[in-house]
Amino acid sequence: MEIENDREKTDWLKYFYTFVITALIFATAIYISDYFSNKKITQLKTMGDKISLDILSSETQFSLLTESSCENIDDNTLSREVGQLGEKLSYTEEKIGADDLDFQNLKTYYSLLEIKDYLLMKKISEKCMDNTVFILYFYSNKGSCTDCQNEGYVLTKLHELYPQIRIYSFDYDFNIPTIETLKSMYSIENKLPALFINGKVQYGLKTIDDIKKIIPQTKIWDKEALASSTESNI
């Protein structure tokens, strides 16, 4: 025996307004996420603009070099900012994806700034006869380059240990003419990670010790650091 069906009718209206409320919460989440993404992109743009201005300032200082001393050129802040922008860009690339148009523009901008900074610092280094070492690092974000991530850690650590080393990283697969020119100028093959140090290309993962062997100046810097720490202890 079945009793009379007293089941309340399906409340379609309630389903509908639950849907509307859920959609509103979803839309709010989209808005918040979008708001912060835009804030981050704006911050990256601002950083890029500031670096651009700093490079212009350095260029101007360089033009005035004949009339001023090498000591007046302070490149440490600039180097740090370029590094920070690079870190934030790779984080953004991981989060929002490399295909985002805003991101691609920023990455192009960053790559150009790096090259500009590299050329200028090389000129300053030659003019001022300092012993700055330049490393051009070519990596790939594609799955095939498993060592690229590790090389990134090594280079970050290396820069911490030796601020005299200026490191410029370039995405090998990022198709912009300036990177293509760099690749052909230094004959960089698609065997990544690749490091261009002191006029030679090094392929494959290189540890800190490997790189120290390639850069003889590191021995001098180590001695200087040891001497200064002994001095300060005395």
Binding site: M1, E2, I3, E4, N5, D6, R7, E8, K9, T10, D11, K14, Y15, Y17, T18, F19, I21, T22, I25, F26, T28, A29, I30, I32, S33, F36, S37, K40, Q43, K88, Y91, K95, Q149, N150, Y153, V154, T156, K157, E160, T207, I208
Partner: protein
């Protein structure tokens, strides 16, 4: 891209379900305290409480004593203890009740819980029949508070509010929060006429339900779930008395919890397959259209979320290990920059879901404990449980697909 899309669909479903529960609660909360409060004592029906037990010598006495303590006229209820072929001291232990006229003790060959229940049903003649597992204890007013619901002739069963009996270790305290959540969800589902479990501990049935739709079945070791689905299939109404508290002993180790939940989830999936015609069938109202489909989806979405979570965190851990291997540990890198805060859509929606979950948990605490105290186990429940639950979910889905059976203990 497809992975993100699947994630958004699952998140939307989770959010929709929580919003629906919250709206239903807000709609009904004003009437919650005023429903079915009193029934004249002379009209109280006769009741039999069946206690099926198998090797429960350590808890059965407390269980029976909790029933004897019920605020209910002694001449109107009796207890039927069914020893389902215990191999421990249960038979000997039960002898202390031999002289009590309210208690009948039966011994039978082991056949599983459902056979013990059916034996009790066949041998009782009262208006109402209930069951209390030998690891559960009823509050004094539990039965009294349920009786007024039966004034409504269409209500065929009333389920109680189940709480954890004296939670001692952290795992039991976490389950206490979960059971509190269950108190609220059960109440809301009763308003939606969508209760799909008549829990073993102290669900009270009208006797005629067994005459009309039959007694308990094996039902993949979840006979209480199958009975509720069968009742729903025949459009019988199940109510919830949120003031009828029953306390149950919960697993105190991860292993026993795992086994229990594996049985529940496996039983749910198998019974859902048996009752698949209820799914998305508007004839069954909220149960068919929303509750059952969303419960099924929630199993698969939980698996999907956790798989993603594990993959993501494994990658992070591998990266960190590689980093330490390459350059050692560097502490000077730790600095705060809001730029690195996760502001992805998935993360923000997850926060909204967590906030609504927290709101519902607090409401459930108010309902089950009468206070809004926030205890640490609440956070363990929200963050630790979703990580361990997939252990049994994965196995239950696997066993369901490959038709493997599981053991009770």
């Amino acid at each position: 891209m497809i992975s993100s899309l699947i994630m958004y669909v699952f998140l939307f479903c989770s959010l929709y379900f929580e919003v629906f529960l919250l709206i239903t609660y807000l709609e009904k909360r004003k009437t919650m305290g005023t429903e079915y409060l009193e029934m004249e004592e002379k009209n109280w029906p006769t009741t039999t409480i069946i206690v099926p037990c198998f090797n429960e010598s350590t808890t059965v006495i407390t269980t029976v004593n909790s029933i004897l303590d019920l605020n209910y006229p002694k001449d109107k209820f009796k207890i039927m203890v069914i020893d389902d072929g215990s191999t421990d001291d249960t038979r000997k232990t039960l002898e202390i009740f031999k002289e009590n006229p309210q208690i009948q003790i039966h011994h039978k060959e082991n056949g599983g819980k459902y056979t013990a229940l059916n034996f009790g049903i066949e041998n009782s003649d009262s208006d109402l029949i209930g069951c209390l597992d030998a690891d559960s204890f009823a509050d004094k007013d539990a039965l009294k508070n349920m009786i007024p619901y039966f004034e409504n002739k269409n209500i065929m069963a009333v389920v109680p509010a189940i709480k954890v009996f004296r939670p001692k270790n952290l795992l039991q305290k976490i389950q206490n929060i979960e059971y509190g959540w269950g108190v609220l969800v059960r109440k809301i589902l009763s308003y939606l006429n969508a209760l799909h479990v008549t829990p073993g501990p102290f669900t009270i049935f009208r006797r005629k339900i067994f005459e009309n739709i039959g007694k308990y079945k094996h039902a993949h070791q979840t006979e209480d779930l199958e009975m509720a689905l069968r009742m729903q299939k025949h459009n019988y109404k199940i109510a919830n008395s949120h003031r009828s508290f029953v306390f149950t002993v919960t697993p105190d180790t991860l292993k026993t919890l795992y086994k229990q939940r594996l049985r529940w989830t496996f039983g749910f999936l198998k019974n859902i397959i048996d009752y698949k015609h209820l799914l998305l069938n508007k004839k069954y109202g909220n149960l068919g259209i929303l509750i059952l489909p969303f419960t099924v989806i929630s199993i698969f979405s939980a698996l999907y979320f956790v798989t993603n979570f594990v993959i993501l965190n494994t990658n992070i851990i591998i990266r960190q290990i590689m980093k330490i291997k390459m350059v050692g540990i560097s502490l000077d890198e730790i600095h705060f920059d809001w730029f690195y805060l996760n502001t992805s859509l998935i993360f923000i929606i997850s926060i909204f879901i967590l906030l609504i979950t927290l709101t519902l948990i607090l409401i459930s605490r108010k309902l089950s404990e009468g206070n809004l105290k926030i205890k640490p186990e609440l956070f363990y429940f929200m963050f630790f449980y979703p990580i361990i639950a997939p252990l049994w979910l994965i196995n239950a889905v696997f066993n369901t697909i490959f038709s493997k059976t599981i053991t009770w203990r």
